[in-house]
Symmetry: C2
Subunit: 335 residues, 2 copies
Amino acid sequence: MTTNGPEATCLTSKDYYFDSYAHFGIHEEMLKDQVRTTSYRDAIYRNKHLFEGKVVLDVGCGTGILSMFAAKSGAKHVYGVDMSNIIHQARKIVSDNGLADKITLLQGKMEEIQLPVDKVDIIISEWMGYFLLYESMLDTVLVARDKYLIDGGMIFPDKATMYIGAIEDADYKDEKINYWDNVYGFNYSSIKKIALKEPLVDTVNGTVIVSDACPFKEIDVLTAKKEDLSFKVPFQITAQRNDYVHAFICWFDIGFTQGDTPIYFSTGAHAMYTHWKQTVFYTPTTLTIVEGETIQGTIACAPNDQNPRDLNIVIEYSFHGKYGSEQHTCDYKMS
Amino acid sequence: MTTNGPEATCLTSKDYYFDSYAHFGIHEEMLKDQVRTTSYRDAIYRNKHLFEGKVVLDVGCGTGILSMFAAKSGAKHVYGVDMSNIIHQARKIVSDNGLADKITLLQGKMEEIQLPVDKVDIIISEWMGYFLLYESMLDTVLVARDKYLIDGGMIFPDKATMYIGAIEDADYKDEKINYWDNVYGFNYSSIKKIALKEPLVDTVNGTVIVSDACPFKEIDVLTAKKEDLSFKVPFQITAQRNDYVHAFICWFDIGFTQGDTPIYFSTGAHAMYTHWKQTVFYTPTTLTIVEGETIQGTIACAPNDQNPRDLNIVIEYSFHGKYGSEQHTCDYKMS
């Protein structure tokens, strides 16, 4: 695995609830994520005929970039909603771009505010979090959909698919996990135990991927229910070469499939960098795997009972290969 | 300027008040900062005769590494104080290393807790923040000193010196400041205004430094008062070559000078990487400077009235050179 500097992504930085979103740094990172922003731009600009004269809702509008894409595509009116104070900047930006008559920005929780219209034709939203679902706004998008979207209305994007694979990652596992065995001569194994339970959000080099990719969860934003965001599903991955396995890796693909020109992007290690990077789950032991051998298991994901912003993820897996058999249940927590 | 990946350091991650310090990630970054941690280690281990049989107070003990250094150096007893929940991990670590009888860890604010002893012989603390003073714990160290340190007691470290210089930084200024002129075709100049007021914490390549270094503030931790942490002081820097100036850069050096073997480290661009990096203040215009020409001014620093955790920094400067004369007053805020 390669990292961007000495530290992997700090999960606590993406934190709506303390309004760190009001700071422009996180928006800078998202805007400069070219895969993300140009995918939205293309999905909207290449489907101008769909936006022409329509009422659009932007859930979690941030600095207003998606709202402005929609307005420039001929939307009759765009309503942008965000609970963060960044919305004050967004209003200024919308006004500076001469779009104040086309875009209305409302501060508040989607679940609590009342739009000035009963229904909207299209919902646009960049709701995705790390591991797709960590601190994601998908549940808010579903609320907005059920309350405001007309029958037959459209959602951009409308498809998300989560994947799992296996990686060889000895060096970085030494740096992130085994480091705690000896910290300037001291035993920090109590931190090691915590580190093993914490998925690591970081950029992974595509060359360390040992297995094929198993899609384990597909979300159709048009029909998904809140309950669908807690799940336990099977997976099976097959080694593509002889190697060691130190971790599972997860990523997701996003699709805007309702336009005449569908647009997709991937956050996988094989694709261009996105600020979502990939999510790595270190395994308690190292597997020695032979090309064609499989790892089978289940992956479960649900909000933490005590703190629904945290995500509990359980990966159960079994492996019966030439060089050994193993079976583990691993609890992880994103917090 | 070179950056570690797409984003400079996110200031909000170093945030005691929401207890993100309880997450081990920030401690991992600090422990893995070898310049920082080995400087403390050396300052303590190479002065074992000073620690032998002494009572030591560790202000902001984190995972307990400095407390353990002191205990290993023969301290009679070490008291570690931290308000973060990381102290629960620190207790486990101290116990795992067989030092539970030598180290007592107390959770709470230094200003509010009561130590089980009246006085201590030595205070150790890693209190430094970005730009030395942003979210620093120095004021807490001063409180601890006045309440607990015996007359003639020692503080590790005891010296801090802040420096200012000038850098050529056209490319990165384009990326961080001028970027906002055109964001996917939209005018984000309202964010640009904010970006210019926000010092950037990032690693700066030593080769972009155009001027000499001016020490503008020296802090003696043994004698400093809280009032000394708000100041307005003059500076003067001299160009070492013909070049452009796009920004001021600040950094600090730290000294452990009370032992028989003084130890120093620097967080400057010329020195090894530390997690404090450097702090960059972009200027509103670009200066064209000739070797030997000077920039004169003042730098003022004080906690924000409304939010004392924020730092207001004002740099006033004037320049009269071959290619122009300029005078500016620039307000910055670290928040």
